[in-house]
Symmetry: none
Subunit: 213 residues, 4 copies
């Protein structure tokens, strides 16, 4: 006699994961478009044409799925912009600035493709609760740290200012993008305007990090 086979429909772990992802995607949309407070579980369900119960089979609460939505958004953003942290290695100021230019381009590309991601992170996340704010700040800190490390390398290799406050400049570099991203999400900063904005940021950083003449 073979090992007793389990009766019934075999549970499909993929299915659960698929559902969860669909729910996170739907919640992401709902939260980005209507706001976390204004969006109801019903709005999430409606996007999937599923019942409320399904939501609660996969997530404990509205608040819990927000964590996943935000983690997901951060992960997608980071994956699109910084797929390989090792790629931050550069050997000269020119290379470094080219890399920055490239990364900025990728950030804009993500926002074009999925504006919801940034709506959520920039606009919604800050007003939920303490835990969520910390979650976001940690993520920002992570990226800041990676950029700071890259700057550190440049300082060590002599093509960046010796007295650079790398962490501060890394944070500045990120926040320099924010006004451009907001204009992109809202009005649509595009084409020539966007290129100018992008060049402006690179130029500002270029001057900011260049070794003293």
């Amino acid at each position: 006699m073979p090992a007793a086979r389990r009766r019934g429909r075999p549970p499909d772990p993929q299915l659960a994961e698929t559902r969860r992802r669909a729910l996170v995607a739907a919640a992401s949309e709902a939260f980005a478009q209507q706001g976390y407070a204004a969006a109801g579980i019903a709005d999430i369900d409606a996007r999937l044409e599923s019942g409320h119960g399904t939501f609660y089979r996969h997530f404990e609460s509205k608040r819990e799925i927000l964590d996943h939505v935000v983690d997901d958004a951060i992960a997608r953003l980071v994956a699109s912009v910084l797929p390989d942290p090792a790629a931050l290695q550069t050997g000269s100021a020119e290379e470094f600035l080219a890399l920055v230019d490239e990364l900025i381009g990728r950030v804009f590309a993500v926002v074009d493709a999925e504006p919801d991601v940034l709506c959520l992170l920039l606009l919604e996340t800050t007003s939920i609760d303490e835990a969520m704010t910390l979650r976001l700040l940690n993520a920002v800190e992570g990226v800041t740290g990676a950029v700071a490390a890259a700057l550190e390398d440049g300082v060590r290799d002599g093509f960046l200012r010796a007295d650079l406050d790398t962490h501060a400049v890394a944070a500045q570099a990120l926040y320099l993008l924010v006004p451009g991203l907001l204009r992109t999400i809202r009005g649509g900063l595009q084409g020539e305007d966007r290129d100018r904005y992008r060049r402006g940021v690179v130029e500002l950083l270029a001057r900011g990090i260049a070794p003293a003449a």
Copy 2:
């Protein structure tokens, strides 16, 4: 027949204005501390030990008072930082940077004095609705415009880079303050750390806006 004189103490328009101001202040506190969604009308009333009815005598709705709260916050912020737009006039790069340094100091002073103001504007305001977001962005745009005009003057007078994207740089200059302000609100960016932060921003701008050598 003359208009019938109403009996009793005539309504005092000043009193109404006083009440409104007190309500806006209370709402400001409540929204900043608990968040707009979490704060209830009851929380606002409780701070004044008045009834809900009083609130609705002076404001149409919770949403309406938020407009006043935000306008008030913006006005106080601008008044503290930029009391006289004419003061933005400067005659040299050194003067200009000294002015920037001065303004940054004033911003930090406001946050020290009334952290609620910035909690509201930076964290809460973005997640209410479209109209509120526009209201905030308009205010930011106003300040950005003033700064951009000052930069324009500098360009015209030759002590700033001729090819400066003045509007973009003005916006960036504002957003460069955000990480510092957030750290101030949260952990308390103070003393030496704050000075370093401040110098970092001024330095970045100094290099970024200097005319090509």
Copy 3:
């Protein structure tokens, strides 16, 4: 100038108490007729033609009002049956049994007047939760104790059996009423049948507590 009069409608503490009582009465009815689990807040409100919010202004939760409903029921029952604990004093077996007969009559009278009271206490209360069960058992224990004390007096005075387990008999005396009360609530044990039932209980006790011949 006289002491500043408080503005607005003076709060009426009586009103709140009246409402609370009305809610307790409505809840009592609802719980007795539909059962605690099946009765919804809406059913309580409907009886008073008031909104859900009114309920929650006066009580924290459905579970909380049940405590009041039960306390109320116990109090009314005890007040009707044992208005004066001192009245339990008797001087002879005949007097004692006459008192028992009288008390049984009063219990039936309460059930006739307010069957809900007993529906609640006998049928619903036992299946809510541990705390509620204890609340009821404590009340029963109180009455049992009073009856036991009366029996104790009789033993001491020599007109009851010397070896009487007073507490056990007191409890049994109470529970002997249960089948009759249930039949009253349900079918209606009335008239001659009820008298017979009553005499049966008195007779059993009479024989049970008499001193050994």
Copy 4:
């Protein structure tokens, strides 16, 4: 054409019966421990590590299985206490009281062995709905009837009071046990205390049913 033989293992009616019994046992536990309202289908399934579907293959609804749970509990109780109704035949007052004593002992033994049975019957069953209450009362009536018949025999044979209201006394005999059973379920009425309680009941009945001296 002969009826098409179904493929595979033919459904085993015994298996179905086994399942049903297991479900009833699990439901019995769940209802007794958590209460009917609080226990969910999921709690029943969890005890058997089976799925909800299995439950609904064997029972129509949560309400339906309760009928079986209660019938089962009553049957087990009766089987343990009164395995053979013919055994109620006795020939003298002493024999009769010895039998009563014996039966009381068996009731306590059941409660020791399966407290759930009485928890369910005494505490839960009364608050479900009309039909369930009737079901329980019918069962009680059945037992009361059997006891009454035994009393009737004693009256006929002259060793019990000629004017005994046999039905009423039978009911009284049952309810005399209730406070003791409740104390057993809850605190644990045991050892010497239980014996005293038991003797008290027997004594009370002994006096109650003895022929007039």
